[in-house]
Amino acid sequence: MPTLTDNESSVDENANNGPATNVSQRRLFGQLARWRRLLIGLASFVVAIAIWYLLTDGAHVIQPLKLPSPVAVAQRIQRLVSHPYVRHTLWGHASASIQVVLLGWLAGGVIGAPAGVLMAWSRRFRAATYPVFHILRPISPIAWIPLAITWMGIGVEARVFIVFVAAVVPWVLNSMEAVRSVDPMLIRASRNLGTSSLGTLGRVVLPASLPTLMAGARVALGNAWTSVIAAELLAATSGLGYVALTAANALDSKTTFAAMAVIGAIGFVLSALMRAVAKLLAPWAKGL
């Protein structure tokens, strides 16, 4: 899902810098713009939380059952860290969610990435597998949940399966796209110089397609994190999604919003981690 979003630098950042004549001057302006963005962003966060506080604890416009105040949510998070809620502490639930995500995401990569690369590289393989992939793909991972519960119960297996279904699609499609986007000149040159088809794949195509592969891995992780929450609403006895829904059914809005805040924070950290890994593995890639 986060495909459309990752436009970190705004487009007109460099447009209004005026006549920056030398490089160091331009760099200074760039840095100033970055600081400005950071400051404005921070300020708007503070304002948003202040408005949230005013609406709840401040002026009591919204009743705490509908929306607890930021203070109450923060206190609840603090409490959940040490006191177990539905059998586990916050860490227990968070690590349950993360474990399922990582297992399903890795399984998706182990199966999906090689499949995608082969689908792009070998016409025969593509002809044989793509129709099947195309038939199964429109069935959304969410629609698999009832079947997964019937087959595997509400244990870890069902959730890992759902996450796998959600993650494998971007793994396959982006691995395919990654190989397809390699400059054909590179491939022809490599073949011309006598490298075999497999050698070209391993030593030319794969390194060249690494940035897109990494981006695909990130989309897959985003999908995995999204779908694990859905799976936990239905097929779980632990996990942050399970905590949020259990608390909502018990009209415990503080715990629901505490769980949501943690879900958002973990989603943010996972995305940032993937970005860092991508930079480490493919530092030449732009726009990741």
Binding site: M1, K66, A127, P131, T150, E177, A215, T226, A244
Partner: protein
């Protein structure tokens, strides 16, 4: 897919890559009867494996995996007879109603907001960090608070569709509006166009294809989130249908629901594509 286009932006939520060169060595899938045969064989193999799995498991766990034939029969049966209150068509229609409600709200609020974000830098810089953070909370995570706010009925399900669809529309509109060539804006201003005319006759047509890419993603995100909301609560809809099938241990009904969900998603996608082509017909002439 636009072979040979300079930049091919995929409007697929799962695909990141933008191809900057037409990859001529890569041929699309029309490579003769042998490949078609391979494809048909593998699809047939899929159904054979399914049937065999159904027959084997039926020995010890009857009904765990229904045969393809049984699913087809249930499909025909559910099309005429009602299950859980409605026929299959009735459930799909009811889901579509709530999907439409959330989706229309997402467009009506998302497009103007995206244009504002895209054209006023200060607003974007102030709002987008909060917006971005909220996006790290998956739409499904809003189901519990929606239940708290509105119970598990129509309103909370439409709200979930809205939450799932809204960000894709805002972001694609914002990017599309921000990418309008400033020279064109200045030119239209020089020629005497006011703010409204520039918005209607310069920004909107240029940004429209980009907006539609987001609308397409939003349509499918919203549909998926609705199914999740229907699985959790409610009394009607395809998601409710498969949840009921699960409760009765009727895996054939669950599978009929899954197929109906996939077909509906595909039809919605086709409608959005057709609409986008119709509204951006001028593009072909330009290219």
């Amino acid at each position: 897919m636009g072979e040979g286009a300079l930049i091919v932006t995929t409007a697929d939520a799962d695909v990141v890559a933008t191809r900057t060169k037409s990859s001529r060595w890569y041929k699309p899938d029309r490579d003769g009867w042998f490949d078609t045969g391979l494809g048909v064989t593998s699809v047939v193999a899929l159904f054979v494996v399914w049937a065999v799995a159904a027959i084997i498991t039926n020995h010890n766990h009857p009904g765990l995996v229904p045969t393809p034939v049984k699913v087809a029969k249930s499909f025909a049966d559910l099309s005429t007879n009602s299950f859980a209150g409605h026929t299959l068509f009735g459930h799909v229609l009811s889901s579509l109603g709530r999907w439409g409600l959330g989706f229309v709200f997402a467009i009506v609020l998302g497009v103007p907001l995206g244009i504002i974000f895209g054209s006023i830098t200060l607003v974007r810089e102030a709002v987008s960090p909060i917006f971005e953070f909220l996006r790290y909370i998956p739409p499904f995570a809003w189901i519990p608070p929606a239940v708290l706010w509105f119970g598990s009925g129509q309103t909370s399900q439409a709200l979930i569709v809205f939450i799932a669809a809204f960000p894709a529309i805002v972001i694609s509109t914002q990017v599309a509006a921000a990418n309008v060539d400033p020279a064109l804006l200045r030119a239209s201003r020089t020629l005497g166009a006011g703010h409204l005319r520039r918005l209607g006759q310069v920004i909107t047509p240029i940004a429209l294809p980009g907006v539609f890419a987001g609308v397409r993603v939003a349509a499918s995100n919203g549909w998926m989130a609705l199914i999740a909301a229907e699985l959790i609560g409610g009394r009607v809809g395809v998601g409710f249908l498969i949840a009921q099938g699960e409760d009765y241990g009727a895996t054939d009904i669950v599978m009929v629901g899954m197929v109906a969900i996939a077909i509906t998603a595909a039809i919605l996608d086709l409608i959005v594509i057709a609409l986008s082509k119709r509204l951006t017909r001028w593009r072909k002439r330009a290219a």
